[in-house]
């Protein structure tokens, strides 16, 4: 095996590993991060063990800066509060979110669109298939400075669409109620504007948003091409700014995922 900092070669890691590590790299040291259940928890923990040792993780159920020694399986898991600075409740952490203290948030969804709008309520609009609903997705996506969406994509182009069939969580371009006019997010939020979607990380690539709030391909994962990434979108994805391949996980990151963060094999099976 190469040195711990070396990058793993194709075949030495699973798609899920790359997803977790690419997501982890979005965190800068010292940032305040909101994370949810599953991959987001792995991502923030990898980041805290590598480039962002002083990043703080907040879970929406109310625990702040926990130092879990066992991987939590939900945001209200007792493991989240282990060695936490504070473990109070929703009013505390959502108020901090609204007042602009949250730098980065990880979210998921069933559909994402060109402008980073997210759907986790109805696949196909209010007469379609019912999902869980917002939970904190809408609040967090609308009020964090940057949000990073983690989404499945390969063979599921219906998840990457021009317009989501129901906007659970507002992206860069949104309707202004009640007149329905589509406007930039900043025009709706005014002084409460903190930012918006920064990246979408799928099992095929990493996507970012341009000056107009429109999604483009930043890097494709090893084994895929920019063209394949575009083919797995339902809209005409901009691939002109693509920088090439996504960096693979390092051996150190893989060790962290399988031996330190999730040795029980709960998510990293």
């Amino acid at each position: 095996m190469d040195s711990k900092k070396g990058y793993a070669k194709p075949g030495e890691f699973k798609p899920m590993d790359l997803l977790a590590c690419a997501a982890a790299r979005e965190v800068k040291d010292g940032e305040i991060v909101f994370a949810g259940t599953g991959l987001p928890m792995l991502a923030i923990m990898v980041a805290q063990h590598t480039q962002a040792p002083t990043a703080v993780c907040i879970y929406e159920s109310g625990s702040i800066d926990g130092r879990p020694i066992d991987l939590p399986t939900s945001v209200a898991d007792a493991r989240c509060s282990y060695q936490a600075a504070v473990a109070d409740g929703l009013t505390d952490v959502f108020a901090q979110l609204q007042s602009g203290r949250v730098d980065l948030a990880y979210l998921g969804g069933a559909e994402v669109d060109l402008y980073g709008n997210v759907n986790c309520t109805f696949m196909g609009g209010p007469t379609g298939k019912r999902l869980t609903g917002s939970g904190g997705n809408s609040d967090i996506h609308s009020l964090a400075k940057r949000s990073v969406l983690i989404m499945p994509q390969f063979g599921q182009k219906r998840r990457f669409v021009e317009r989501v069939s129901y906007i659970t969580s507002p992206g860069w371009k949104i309707p202004h109620w009640p007149d329905k006019e589509w406007v930039p997010k900043k025009d709706v939020y005014g002084p409460a504007f903190n930012g918006g979607p920064a990246a979408v990380i799928s099992d095929m690539g990493v996507y970012r948003f341009d000056e107009n709030g429109e999604m483009y391909l930043d890097t494709y994962h090893p084994g895929f091409s920019a063209e394949q990434c575009r083919e797995n979108c339902s809209f005409d994805l901009n691939i002109s700014r693509c920088k090439g391949e996504t960096l693979t996980p390092t051996y150190e990151e893989l060790d962290l995922l399988y031996k330190v963060i999730d040795p029980e094999g709960i998510i990293m099976k």
Binding site: D77, T91, G133
Partner: protein, 324 residues
């Protein structure tokens, strides 16, 4: 000072009327008053109006049993143990239930406003989402915002240009449920409530509600809780009824006491993909047992033991959780 009454579960739940507005303490699959949910179903309550910061296994169960007329919340699912609340999803897809979707802060604001005696509380959350699309004001479309039901506001929300910084903000109306049912670790004989671990939104939902039922793992002498008042959450005068019922939160989790029973919840989720599946499940686990004691007997000591928390950690250190 009015003292809460210590009663049995069926007497406490017997106070709740068809059509009442209900909310619950806890968060998703944590610290939910599940024994009370089973008893609400056994007593065949109908047309309940739920307003919840978030839902979970408990409200999906009530919906499956046909107890709920209106569901208002931000979420319904089973965390990692089931992708979504299938009873709620099925009834929404078939148009068999009235529902109102909210973001987390919205419902939190509804109950916080209610707890503070305010008519509304503003927020910036979820502006530009379809949650606030006027076409998705389902109670309005059903003609229920005519002022005849005190639990249903004249408007779902109001966009307001506030006069201090001239920003647009969403005014979210207060909610004051008739009942809140909360499961906690400890209550004093005079009703002082102590919660260990995260408080979630318990203080807001309890104080917003006209009546409160506290279900506790244990009732202790008041004197014990009053040695350390900073650890307590609520004074007893907010509590109407106390029920002592160990394991009353199963299959949801309880900090310091037991884990969620993931396998149980996951089996519930699988069974409830159809109404017939739910009915069979309810026959076995709700109607097929006469009370909570029989339910616990059916689960068996080994199953309950396997969920117990290690008090040094607040969770189980022996439970098999993953593939390794």
């Amino acid at each position: 000072m009015a003292r809460p009454k210590v009663v049995g579960l069926s007497e406490a739940i017997g106070q709740i009327n068809d059509g009442d507005m209900l909310t619950f303490g806890g968060f998703t699959v944590w610290r939910r008053p599940m024994a009370a949910i089973y008893e609400l179903i056994r007593q065949k309550k109908r047309n309940l109006h739920l307003v919840e910061v978030n839902g979970g296994t408990h409200d999906d169960m009530l919906v499956g049993a046909g107890c709920v007329g209106i569901w208002e919340s931000s979420w319904c699912g089973h965390e990692l143990y089931g992708k979504f609340g299938s009873n709620l999803a099925r009834r929404i897809e078939k148009g068999e239930i009235l529902y109102e979707d909210w973001a987390h802060i919205h419902v939190l604001n509804r109950l916080t406003a209610g707890s503070r005696g305010l008519p509304f509380l503003p927020t910036y959350a979820a502006m530009g989402s379809d949650i606030l699309n006027p076409e998705n004001d389902n109670l309005g479309k059903a003609g229920l915002r005519d002022g005849s039901n005190p639990h249903i506001g004249k408007y779902k929300y109001v966009m307001y240009k506030e006069p201090f910084t001239d920003s647009e903000i969403v005014l979210i109306p207060a909610a004051n449920p008739d009942w809140c049912i909360t499961h906690v670790q400890t209550v004093g004989a005079e009703g002082t409530v102590r919660v260990d671990g995260l408080k979630f939104s318990d203080q807001e939902v309890i104080k917003a509600s006209k009546h409160n039922i506290i279900i506790a793992e244990k009732i202790v002498p008041e004197e014990y809780l009053r040695r350390e008042p900073t650890r307590n959450m609520l004074p007893g005068y907010l509590v109407d009824y106390i029920v002592e019922l160990p394991w009353g939160a199963h299959p949801t989790g309880l900090f310091d006491v037991h884990e969620p029973d993931g396998e149980f919840i996951s089996n519930f989720f699988k069974a409830t993909r159809t109404q017939e599946g739910f009915d069979q499940w309810a026959e076995e686990w709700i109607f097929g047992v006469k009370d909570h004691q029989e339910y616990l007997n059916k689960l068996g000591i080994n199953r309950l033991e396997s969920l117990k928390a290690n008090p040094a950690l607040g969770y189980s250190s022996t439970m098999k959780r993953g593939s390794r």
